[in-house]
Amino acid sequence: MAFDKVLKNVINKCLKQPKLLRCLSTHFKHDIEDHVGSKIKWTSTLDFVSPDCFSPIPTYRVLDSRGNILNKFEEPAIENATLEKMYKDMILVNTMDKVLYESQRQGRISFYMTNYGEEATHMGSAAALDLNDLVYGQYREVGVLIWRGFTLSEIMNQCYGNCLDPGKGKQMPIHYGSKRLNFVTISSPLATQIPQAAGSAYALKNQNRVVMCYFGEGAASEGDAHAAFNFAATLDCPVIFFCRNNGYAISTPTEDQYRGDGIAVRGPGYGITTVRVDGNDVLAVYNATKAAREFCLERSKPVLIEALTYRVGHHSTSDDSTAYRSQKEVDERIQNDNPVKKLRLYLENKNLWNEEKEKEWLHLTKRNVLEAFNAAEKILLPKWTEMFTDVYGVIPHHLRKQMNEMEKHLENYRDHYPLEKYST
């Protein structure tokens, strides 16, 4: 094909300029500049490209560690109320994490994952999106859902799998989802959301919406990530790939996860516009996501954002991170690079926050979280018929038969079952 195309070009040129026609028979034009659509630059020097010949992609930030603006032209024009909501939602996530983590330890729910340390990646990116945008999470993005309006009750109901859980108790805790908020339900298998997000973006082209896809630097090692990046680039999908590079995939540190300049450097390789940001700087995350969203919409192309952050908590309630990292390392990060503190200092500098407000909000949040928690625990479990639903769109004959048998059985023996625990 390539050769045919080149030959055709040459012939066409020759026909237009008859004096060149003679050249065709004796000379062939070798210096093609295009390899079936991609540009070629020729060289006579044998040079291997070393990964060290590039300096690291710089990390964009707006705030310093004390919450001061580094360059006033980069300070985003965010309304005061919105800034305050960013901070309040961070505290809310922290408070909720504490209660739910402890409740798993007490055996009241089976599983939990905390979000400590990654609050700025949630709030900064969520605030820059439109509610109409479609979001795919990995599993550690509950702050994004909260920002979009997911209520404490909805969270607690999911973790308890009660009858108000939209998942009808069929999923493990933290597998949230909300059609109302355009947030696709979390799926346990790692990285499957990345190609799905590219596919959704392909379907939603030219609808003034983008797809936001969160994933970790560990998930970026899965084959799915490669497929997603390549397809989003070649199919011009308006999707933001948002990598939360938090340093660890369970116990695997980034140095064992990849070589080279992190996840960001892969973007240009796929032909994807890319930026790296300080994931612990909520304003930097906001600016990057906002600009990425505009780029996606204007050009109908993907963007890759790599946000550098740190997973302060254990991977999940199944993990004990002291087995592979020191408490000192964690403490130092909490002390010196704390996204919540950083935003608080910024707000205090702007006179938007103070100790009194902090106390008041902490108190209120704790009360609200515990109220929602206690309420969810008392709510009835889903109706028994739910065990026959949702495997197929229409309940097939053999399941319908079992359901009817069960119904008759319960009519006859209802005293033998704790039916009072289940909704009717």
Partner: protein
């Protein structure tokens, strides 16, 4: 793949089953038997085979520094170092392909999946690369590799983390598929698999890792091997044959105990190997008992039990049955998250007892 629940409530599982007394159920000599947990039996088998053959190495997610998500490789990285115990990035299809390539080049990789749920990413390399390379190369390239990790229903981790892959892999020619139940099985089958010239899939059971079983002196020997393709009669009986594998063997043995109390002597066959399948053992037993029940945690459709029943139909064993053979299986639904439904979705001793009573008309 999913890290969400990989190591969930390991301790809870261990303690829940720590008191299960399986001593009376084993057929191995118990006089001097040492109680060993399945996890430790696997660990010792790995250690011995790593020591015996320097072509053997272990690779997978979290297997080195972290000692494995389920601590099966505890201490091995400290002993053998980075060259033999290799932590990998999270790319199942990637490290499975690499392990297969290493086997093609003459090494003997043991490829650990954090759970077999994540091996779905790797299935192309397991079936098309490892399983068929010997055939496709007309016998010139063999793939001596072991794929292992926990399989089957765990506890409280819902549909995407709880399923049995026994029937999936046993479907495929070119693979050998083992499904150990006890510490003896785990130890002997793993050692045999590592020494085998063909690709072997070992489906361990997450819920059995912490359970202790007696190991005889013979089983503790460094040269203890269990032949691939041979079942084990876990319990002799004359009235009904119960065939099972992995966790289902435990359930079957508990059922056999209950049946004994009402005068039914069940013969329990532990398949150990799903491919090749020891049909001779099943057939001999059915010829004695004239009744057959199969027990598995996997789904019924096209499953291990279905295969056994079909082989009975196709052979003269059929004429020895007094009643139709019955399958006791996992429920034909994605695994429920709710504990009560999860329990109900898996075969229980009571399910087996009911079926036995029904076919024996007692």
């Amino acid at each position: 793949m999913a890290r969400v629940a990989a190591v969930r409530m390991l301790n809870a599982v261990t303690s829940k089953y720590a008191n299960t007394n399986c001593r009376t159920l084993s057929m191995t000599s118990v006089a001097k038997a040492k109680e060993v947990a399945v996890r430790d039996a696997l660990n010792a088998a790995l250690d011995e085979e790593l020591e015996r053959d320097d072509r053997v190495f272990l690779m997978g997610e979290e297997v080195a520094v972290y000692d494995g998500a389920y601590k099966v490789s505890r201490g091995l990285w400290k002993k053998y170092g980075d060259k033999r115990i290799v932590d990998t990035p999270i790319t199942e299809i990637g490290f499975t392909g690499i392990a297969v390539g290493a086997a093609m080049a003459g090494l003997r990789p043991i490829c650990e999946f954090m759970t077999f749920n994540f091996a779905m990413q790797s299935i192309d390399h397991i079936l098309n690369s490892a399983g068929k390379m010997f055939y496709m190369s007309a016998g010139r390239v063999n793939v001596p590799i072991v794929f292992r990790g926990p399989n089957g229903a765990a506890a409280g981790v819902a549909a995407q983390h709880s399923q049995c892959y026994g029937a999936w892999y046993a479907h495929c020619p070119g693979l050998k598929v083992l499904s150990p139940y006890s510490a003896e099985d785990a130890r002997g089958l793993l050692k045999s698999a590592i020494r085998d010239p063909d690709p072997v899939v070992i489906l361990e059971n997450e819920m059995l890792y912490g359970v202790k079983y007696p190991l005889s002196d013979e089983a503790l020997s460094k040269d203890f091997l269990i032949p691939i393709g041979k079942a084990k009669i876990e319990r002799d009986g004359t009235h009904v044959t119960i065939v099972s594998h992995s966790k289902g063997v435990e359930t079957s043995l508990l059922a056999a105990k209950e049946l004994q109390a009402i005068g039914i002597e069940a013969e329990v066959i532990n398949l150990r190997s799903l491919r090749p399948l020891d049909f001779e053992a099943i057939s001999n037993s059915v010829k004695k008992t004239n009744h057959l029940i199969t027990v598995e945690q996997g789904w019924p459709s096209h499953g291990v039990g279905a295969e056994i029943c079909a082989r009975v139909m196709e052979s003269d064993t059929f004429f020895h049955l007094d009643q139709p053979a019955i399958r006791v299986t996992g429920a034909d639904v994605p695994m429920a998250y709710a504990k009560a439904l999860e329990d109900a979705s898996l075969p229980s001793p009571a399910d087996i007892v009911d079926v036995a009573k029904r076919i024996l008309s007692t």
